[in-house]
């Protein structure tokens, strides 16, 4: 139980978060448990489940882009390291 005087909100809610529920559609097996239509000779059952991967990526990426964390101040003296260069986030 939070003591009185403790600060900060518990939850930060954005409607964009609802996108994270979309991939759960891939749990409903009757949606895709069939042979046709085939794609490159692959039954629907298989290629439809592969399609779930880009859909999932799209959802998590949109949520990432549309919900921002609280602004933070960069740690003093933190120089560039190899990851900053890798990621292009070097300041």
């Amino acid at each position: 139980m939070a003591l009185p005087g403790k600060t900060g909100s518990t939850l930060r809610w954005s409607p964009w978060n609802l996108l994270l529920a979309v991939p759960l559609l891939w749990l409903i097996t009757p949606l895709y448990n069939r042979i046709g239509p085939e794609l490159f000779g692959m039954p629907f059952y298989y290629w439809f489940q592969f399609v779930g991967i880009p859909v999932g990526v799209l959802c998590t990426t949109l949520v990432f882009l549309k919900t921002a964390d609280e602004p933070t101040t960069p740690a003093p003296g933190a120089g560039l390291d190899v990851d900053d260069l890798d990621e292009g986030t070097g300041r």
Binding site: K6, L11, T29, R34, G41, I53, F64, T89
Partner: protein, 547 residues
């Protein structure tokens, strides 16, 4: 051992040598002030960026066992084996939010394990101990399974003896792994993961382009798989799911997704990252591995189409279906390329085995040793203890393989998945709310654990050869509560772990309501609501490696 495959063996040994050197050099890679601290040895300095985290978590979650077992399952059961795909489709969106909160609160308070968080959230050493023990027990057989994966490759290379001599190459590989993990900590698997994952990607891309061309196209592959399944008497296999196993398919995918990031080794990979952005990026980038996993699963069908025969295990006298993928590569590709594929799987066993043993060692050190045996252990003593524990854990896993039927590790891993799922209320839900009373969580854990074990114990294997721990799929017909069978006559299958989790939650809610009525003490919470949102660079963060 007279028919060793020399070209394959040499390529395999060369690549194995390369990663061994990397494992030892890793100690100096991005080194902090000291390795004598769990932040450094156990979490690589908590500073991995997006790329390293991607390779590390990818190398951690998509294990050698997955690489051999998923195609083997497709080979023998068909569509039901494809659950790994929806499982990895839903897992990242599900864990996206909770993992960010876990990272932030752990970074503010210096938590190293999920049990550390529970300890801080409820102030209850008992609850934290239960979480830690669950984690260790669920992880041990998982490490042993990595050895099963490695052994499938060694057997294909020609090392197929029985007794200790037959296991010698495996033993050597594991001693080497144990020594460099002891020395370098999490940095070793992080560095090796680069080699492992690149090899895996190369091998899979080549295989899924070359094999369908060679075997006459995808429709040819699927129709030969269809023929095989139609010819077998088993009712559960086929190119599609049937009326009975769809619920099992969905609940197994959901249960596995909920369980994945409760495993201590997954949390270790997440806590080793530098900040929230790194985790968010990875939630979008890790599905690249799911694509590989899906393609790998289809190798099981290619093996059917190519007429691949699994190798006989001379130690047990049974056909080892886990050798399907290695044998497929041996039959269809030039030896040097098969050698690369074997190295990819073999190194794929080392990375998760190292991370898992580190995670289990962290749990032991933080939540058992420091909590109950040596309360004022210094960070250096903690690091020493964890290093030793990692050795014990690894040799325990080797002993599993050497002295006990590998089938036992597979059973245990099945049980482990159900077990780790029982920590969901205390670890994942507690990230959001402290509504559950700690007594409710303890009672829920106890009931979920006991009932889950009981359910698994009573499931016979599909072929009827074994009476107990045959599968995780329970017939609804067999579901009973003290003689009452609500679904009598129903032949639908369901994943037992989901049932155990439901029981856990119901008991936790009931006991929580009672405990709140009685105004029982609910422990003290050392975390603040704001702690769950801080990011890298914030003043609140605990200094890394601080004494």
């Amino acid at each position: 051992m007279n028919d060793l495959h020399w070209t394959e063996l040499i390529v395999f040994a060369l690549l194995f040598g390369v990663v061994t050197v990397m494992g030892f050099v890793a100690a100096k890679w991005k080194a902090g002030e000291t390795l004598e601290h769990l932040d450094e040895w156990g979490l690589g300095g908590r500073k991995f960026g997006s790329w390293i985290t991607w390779f590390l978590i990818g190398g951690d979650l998509y294990t050698a066992y997955t690489f051999v077992a998923v195609p083997a399952l497709m080979f023998s059961a068909g569509a039901a084996g494809f659950f790994a795909l929806p499982y990895t489709v839903i897992v990242y969106p599900i864990v996206f939010m909770p993992l960010l909160r876990m990272w932030s609160v752990s970074r503010v308070h210096g938590y190293v394990t999920p049990a550390d968080f529970v300890r801080g959230r409820y102030g209850s050493p008992l609850l934290a101990l239960l979480i830690a023990i669950t984690g260790i027990v669920a992880t041990m057989p998982y490490i042993a399974l990595q050895l099963v994966g490695l052994e499938a490759v060694l057997r294909t290379l020609g090392f197929n003896g029985s007794g200790v001599v037959g296991h010698l190459p495996l033993l050597i590989a594991f001693i080497v792994l144990a020594v460099y993990t002891y020395q370098s900590g999490l940095r070793a698997p992080a560095l090796i993961a680069f080699v492992k994952d690149i090899l895996i990607y190369v091998v899979i891309v080549v295989a899924v382009i070359y094999l369908p061309i060679k075997l006459g196209g995808w429709s040819e592959i699927f129709s030969s798989a269809d023929e095989k399944f139609k010819a077998t008497p088993a009712a559960g296999d086929g190119l599609l799911l049937n009326g009975n196993n769809q619920l099992q398919y969905a609940t197994l995918a959901l249960g596995s997704a909920l369980a994945l990031f409760l495993y201590p080794h997954s949390i270790t990979g997440v806590l080793a990252s530098r900040g929230r952005k790194v985790i968010k990026r990875n939630m979008s980038a890790l599905p690249a591995y799911s694509l590989v996993l899906g393609l790998l699963a289809l190798l099981g069908y290619m093996a059917i189409s190519a007429g691949t025969k699994p190798i006989m295990n001379q130690a047990t006298g049974k056909a080892d279906t886990n050798t399907i993928v290695p044998v497929l590569f041996q039959d269809q590709f030039p030896s040097w390329f098969a050698g690369i594929a074997f190295a990819a799987i073999g190194i794929g066993a080392l990375v998760p085995a190292a991370i898992m043993s580190i995670a289990a060692a962290n749990l032991w050190t933080r939540n058992v040793y420091k909590e109950f045996m040596h309360k004022d252990a210094t960070p250096a003593q903690e690091a020493k203890q964890a290093k030793l524990a990692s050795l014990v854990v690894k040799f325990g896993a080797v002993a599993f393989i050497l002295f006990i039927d590998p089938q036992f590790s597979i059973d245990l891993q099945l049980i482990g998945g159900v077990m780790i799922l029982q920590t969901l209320p205390a670890v994942a839900i507690a990230l959001y709310t402290r509504w559950f009373h700690m007594r409710g969580l303890i009672a829920g854990w106890t009931v979920g654990m006991a009932w889950g074990m009981w359910l698994l114990y009573n499931i016979p294997s599909a072929d009827g050869k074994r009476q107990h721990f045959g599968s995780s799929a329970l017939k609804l017909n067999d579901l009973g509560f003290f003689g009452w069978h609500p679904f009598a006559g129903n032949s639908l299958l369901i994943y037992a772990g989901i049932l155990a989790l439901a029981a856990n939650l119901i008991v936790a809610v009931v006991v929580t309501v009672i405990a709140r009525r009685l105004r029982a003490f609910n422990g003290t919470d050392e975390t603040n609501p704001g702690d769950y949102h801080v990011d890298e660079g914030d003043k609140k963060l605990k200094k890394i490696g601080a004494h």
